[in-house]
Subunit: 345 residues, 2 copies
Amino acid sequence: MTETITIGADALLRLKELLQNRAFSKVAVLVDENTAIHCYPQVKPYLPEHHLIQIKSGETHKTLQTCEYIWQRMTELNLDRWSVLVNLGGGVIGDMGGFCAALFKRGLYFVQVPTTLLAQVDASVGGKTGIDFHGLKNHLGVYKEPVAVFIHPGFLQTLPQREIKSGYAEIIKHWLIADGDMFEQQRTIGLLTEDWEELIRHSVEIKSAVVEADPLEGGYRKVLNFGHTVGHAVESYLIEKPDRALLHGEAIAIGMLCETYLSVKKGLLSQDALDKIETFLVSVYEKVPLTEDDIQTISRLSLQDKKNTGATINCTLLEKIGHAVYDQPITLQEIQESLRYYQLL
Amino acid sequence: MTETITIGADALLRLKELLQNRAFSKVAVLVDENTAIHCYPQVKPYLPEHHLIQIKSGETHKTLQTCEYIWQRMTELNLDRWSVLVNLGGGVIGDMGGFCAALFKRGLYFVQVPTTLLAQVDASVGGKTGIDFHGLKNHLGVYKEPVAVFIHPGFLQTLPQREIKSGYAEIIKHWLIADGDMFEQQRTIGLLTEDWEELIRHSVEIKSAVVEADPLEGGYRKVLNFGHTVGHAVESYLIEKPDRALLHGEAIAIGMLCETYLSVKKGLLSQDALDKIETFLVSVYEKVPLTEDDIQTISRLSLQDKKNTGATINCTLLEKIGHAVYDQPITLQEIQESLRYYQLL
C-alpha cells in the first residue's frame, strides 16, 4: 500500500496535519448536496480556512458542463498552482474533482476523502480521474495521483444500505481476482460483517498492489476490470432510464455474473466455481429484469469500451476463484449469451 | 534536442515512416480551414489511410466547445488507445489537439506537425498542451509529450509576413534569454535572413535544453516566460476587441519591451542593453497604441497569470542580453509604468 493512504478512525486528524504542514496557498473543498449535509460537518473541524464548491450529486452530473462550473468557481476563488482541492464525496466527486484539479492551470494539488464504500475501496485508489462524455463512462480523463487519500470508515454510517451493497461489489471483485481464501471465508458472512475497516484495508491493499505493478494499465492492471466489460455497458444503458438506473456496484455485480459465466464457457473456470459465485451474488443483489431488446443494446454498447482494440472486445475472466486473466477476446454474441444466462437465473 | 524532433526537408518523409512502422490502429488528422487548403495537400501523399477532423482557425476557437466537437468526432471515428492524432497546424491546433488526445480515453497518441513559424520554434516543443477558458490563456491543460514532432520549413512559404513576424518574436526571445552572441549577429540581419531552417534549429535547441532541465516548470523553465507576463495580458485584453486583436508573437514583442524596461528599472540590466533591444524590436514590430484605460485593464489581467503566487506577480527579467532570471516579484504599478514607457516609444 502506498504511504499516502490513511485508513481508520484517525484519518481526519491526518488530513488536518497534512493541510497544516504543507502550507497550501488556498484550500477549496468540493462537495455535493449529500456530502454537504452528511459529511462536511464531520470534516469541518479538521479544516483550516477554506472555500466550498458545491455541485449536484449523481453520475448524470459527471459531465463537462459540471466541470465548467467547477473551473469557473476555481477561477473566481483565484486558486493557484499551490492551492489544494479536497474532494469530499463518492466516486463522482473523486473522479471529477481529480480531473478538474489535474487540468486547472495544468495541475493543482488534490486530496481524496472518499465518503462511500465504493469510493473508499476503489475510486480513490489508483490515480484514475475522469468524467463521462455523451453517455460514455469515463470517456475523458487523465492519470493523476492525489497528494494523499484519507479513508474514514465512520462515513459509512451515513450511507443507505443500497450504497453499501454497491461498494461491496468491488470488495467481492477484489477477492475473486486476487484472494480465493478471503472469498471462501467471507461468503458465509456477507453483509453481516462487523469489521468494515478490515475489509476496506484488505481491498485497498489488493488494488494498490495491482496499480503499483502497472500504473498506466499497460497489461496486468486490467485484472481490475473483471465484471466491468458487461457491467459498464449495463450501467451506461440503464443510466438513461430514470426508473431503472443502477448504482455502479449493482451493475458490476451483474457484470461479474455474466463474465463468470463466460469464464466457464471459455473453459477457463469450473462449473463448481460458477455455482459458488452465483449463489453468493444472487443472495446479495436483487435480480434486474432485462428484455431481449435491452440485451441487444447493452451488448452493442460494450463495443465502445476503452479496453477494446478495434472491433475486438477484450474482457477479464477468471481462471479460478482468486485468479483473473486479462485480454480475453469475446464476441458480441457471447455477451448476449451471458446476459441471457443472467436473465434465466 | 530530444531525438523525437525532426527538422528539415525530410520531415514529412520521416512522418510517413513513423506512421508506417508504429502500426497505429487508426490515423486521424486535425486541421483548420487554412491548413486544410495550404498544408494538407503537401502532407497527404505521406499519410496512410486516415480520417480528417476540421475545426475553425484562430485563438477564439481554442475553447472547451471546440474540444467537445473534436471528442465527438473521435468517438464517431471509434478511435482507441492505439490510434494516433496528427496535429497539422499552428499553435492552436497543436495545443488543443494535444489536449484532446491526452484526455480521450485517458490518452491517445499524438504527433505534432507545426505549420507556422511560431509553432515550429515554440508551441510544438516542450509537452505543454492546453486551451483557453473564459478568456484566460491556456487556463486548462496538461503536460503530455507527443510521440514525435516533424518540422517542415517548407510550410513557411504558405505564411503571410505577419505570421512570420509573430514566430520571429519567440526566436528573438530565445536569443535574449540564452544566446547574446546570436542576438548580436542576427539583429543587423533581422527578417532578411535566408536561413530559416538554421534559426528554427537553433531556437528548438534552446527550448529543448531548457525543457529537459525542468520539464514541469518547477523553476528554471520559467526563463521561457520572458515577455509573457505583460505579453499574455496584452494578448488576452485585445483578443476581445476584433479590430485590435494581435497575434501571439506581436503581443510578446510588446511584453519583451515592457519587461526589458522593468529589468533596467530593477537594476538588473544596463540602459545600453535596453537601447539595443528597443531599437531592434521597434524596427521589426509596429507600435500598438494603448490608452490609459487599456493600460489599467491590462495590468489587472496580469494578476490572473498562472505563474503568480497569490497576489504577487512573478516575472522573468533579463540580467544581460543572453541571460534571464525568473521569479522576480513586480507590482501592478510597475506593469502600468512599463506599458506607459511603451506608449512613449
